[in-house]
């Protein structure tokens, strides 16, 4: 069972997960793959539909040339209502062949054959033919005719295709032609080696062969073609994403390991530096500072001896004053190297030491701390570090006459403001982080706080940090 996480911890973990490069790559990869698959599907669907129609056209041409043309009795082109019986009988053998070889396969659903003058001379849907010959034939004019495109194919050859229109008499059949595609092409009658003069005379005439295919068949075929495309595309993409994710996960793991090692080394270096600074500060404080303080006291005491000549007294006063100034500078330096006490209670004194050198620069400096008694050691250290950098910048670059360091706490938030009335700068021209605040900004961000620098030319500079107190 894993550790029980608090709300904020869960939130941090969720945020970390979302910011993970692997999660980011997976999200982008899946979205991209979905887009590619959808786009490919649309294109592949169109291509598959075209391919299915193309296959049906090829099938129609093949049937016309290799099955229908060699079996079709050429004299049937003379079929008219007045001689219907005579020529229909000649089509019976052809019909048997067609029934056995074409239509038993249910593909195509129905076939028609039209003569060059546009009369229906055979259809596998015989009742349609009989209707045209025996019931409408008294006028001599066929009730079923070819459209312009069919006549063009009949004259010039080629292949045509259309969606069958059930309201069109030519497309009407007992089984219905709704949801059908009709594909038509031309073939030329042959005498089939017959010695009959009538057959030979009727040979070489163009006729139109028309086949009806159910759209459902084409849709099914389209789906078969499309499925192959789909799985090739989707499979390749999924495989690519899986492999790339695995590689990225490995690289990220290595990168994190390296970063953790670097951080550990950095922390060690910082700890070592901190310890060294602490040792130097302690040694200076315990030896040089004490000695200087004692010497300054002795010199001042000696300067107050009554019998001392004025010249010597003045020299001793000057030496005492110089020693005290040096002592103050040394203490500030020590505070800078390592603040003596970074607890909440020691923060006012540490800040006072920090601004102590300002006086020698002619800057009137003040440090105020309110409501920071409950601040954690980490937050106090953070406040001190930011204040140190901001005060140092103000003293070096601002040419200010006043400098105010203010720390306020309200129980939930700890705020630091370092305000000077110096020359300021243009944030558009000079990056606010140029003065050593870049590292601090990330340090503050890592602690869940915010650091902002506001300035403009001639208006001074304000460095403001806000951090949540635990």
């Amino acid at each position: 069972m894993g550790p029980i996480l608090s709300g904020p911890q869960r939130k941090v973990r969720r945020l970390r997960l979302l910011r993970s490069p692997v999660a980011l790559f997976l999200t982008i990869g899946i979205l991209t793959a979905a887009g590619i698959i959808v786009g490919t599907n649309v294109l592949a669907d169109r291509a598959a539909a075209d391919e299915a129609i193309s296959e049906a056209r090829d099938t129609t041409q093949l049937l016309a040339q290799s099955v229908v043309a060699p079996e079709f009795p050429p004299r049937a082109v003379h079929l008219r209502p007045e001689n219907a019986t005579q020529y229909l009988i000649q089509l019976e053998k052809f019909d048997s062949e067609v029934q056995a070889r074409l239509l038993k396969t249910d593909r195509p659903y129905r076939i028609n054959i039209w003569s060059a003058n546009g009369r229906l001379i055979y259809t596998s849907q015989l009742d349609v033919l009989f209707e045209d010959l025996f019931k409408n034939g008294s006028s001599g004019q066929p009730s079923l005719t070819l459209d312009d495109e069919q006549r063009r194919i009949l004259r010039k050859g080629g292949v045509g295709s259309e969606i069958a229109d059930p309201s069109r008499p030519e497309d009407l059949a007992a089984g219905g032609t709704e949801g059908m595609v009709r594909i038509y092409t031309r073939f030329v009658t042959t005498d089939r080696g017959s010695p009959s003069v009538a057959d030979q005379r009727a040979a070489g005439r163009p006729v139109l062969f028309e086949a009806y295919f159910p759209v459902a068949d084409l849709t099914k075929r389209r789906a078969q073609i499309f499925d192959a495309f789909f799985w090739i595309t989707a499979g390749a993409l999924v495989l690519l994403i899986a492999v790339a994710t695995a590689i990225l996960a490995g690289l990220t793991r290595e990168l994190r390991k390296t970063a953790a090692e670097r951080e550990r080394l950095l922390v060690s270096a910082m700890d070592a530096s901190d310890a060294e600074r602490r040792r130097i500060a302690r040694d200076l404080h315990d030896s040089v500072v004490q000695d200087l303080a004692g010497t300054a006291f002795s010199v001042s005491a000696l300067a107050r001896v009554p019998d001392l000549p004025d010249e010597s007294r003045e020299t001793l006063d000057t030496a005492g004053s110089s020693l005290r100034t040096s002592l103050k500078s040394l203490r500030s330096l020590l505070a800078e190297i390592h603040p003596p006490d970074l607890s909440a209670d020691g923060l006012p004194a540490a800040l006072a030491d920090l601004i102590a050198p300002a006086g020698t620069l002619g800057i009137q400096a003040s440090a105020t701390v309110e409501g920071a008694e409950t601040a954690s050691v980490e937050n106090v250290a953070l406040v001190w570090r930011v204040a140190q950098e901001a005060v140092r910048n103000a003293m070096r670059h601002s040419d200010a006459s006043t400098l105010a360091v203010t720390v306020r706490g309200d129980g939930t938030t700890l705020t630091l403001e370092v305000v000077d009335d110096g020359i300021g700068f243009d944030p558009a021209r000079t990056a606010p982080d140029s003065y050593g605040l870049r590292g601090l900004r990330s340090l503050v961000a890592d602690s869940g706080g915010v650091l902002e620098v506001r300035s403009s030319p001639g208006e001074g500079t304000t460095v403001r940090m806000e951090v949540k107190t635990p």
């Binding site: 005579q86 009988i89 089509l91 019976e92 009742d127």
Partner: protein, 137 residues
């Protein structure tokens, strides 16, 4: 008056059976017709022929025509199917031991409006014997 019922019932049954046996099949146009015809061929031979015409299942527009010849030999026969006087199909065939020395021709014809006259003719090319069966359907 005493009526003897036994002979009356017997007479009725006999007359009914006779009437049924001689009643012709109704043609598709309502006229009398038969859909099967048999021919003894040459009375001196054992060969015989049969022609059967029936509507194709589920299709009003087509007829299934079956011509059969039993010849008790394996001679080659030239057969021909005529429909309304026009040759619909023809060919040659012969019986074999596997087919009980008979052959059968099955074809589809158009079911034209009105009565369809179908003729099945088979001629033994060795003996010249001719079988002929006719059906008006």
């Amino acid at each position: 008056m005493i009526v003897r019922r036994g002979p009356a019932i017997v007479l009725s049954l006999v007359l009914s059976a006779a009437a049924l046996s001689v009643a012709p099949a109704l043609a598709k146009d309502g006229g009398a017709a038969k859909d099967v015809d048999r021919d003894q061929c040459d009375p001196s031979s054992v060969s015989r022929a049969k022609l059967k015409v029936e509507q194709v299942d589920g299709n009003n527009s087509r007829l299934q025509v079956t011509g059969t010849v039993w010849s008790d030999d394996s001679d080659v026969w030239a057969w021909r199917l005529k429909h309304e006087g026009e040759v619909s199909d023809d060919g040659r065939a012969r019986g074999s031991e596997n087919s009980d020395l008979s052959f059968r021709v099955v074809r589809t014809m158009f079911n034209l409006p009105g009565t369809d006259d179908v003729v099945f003719r088979a001629e033994n090319l060795r003996t010249g014997e001719v079988c002929r069966a006719t059906v008006s359907y």
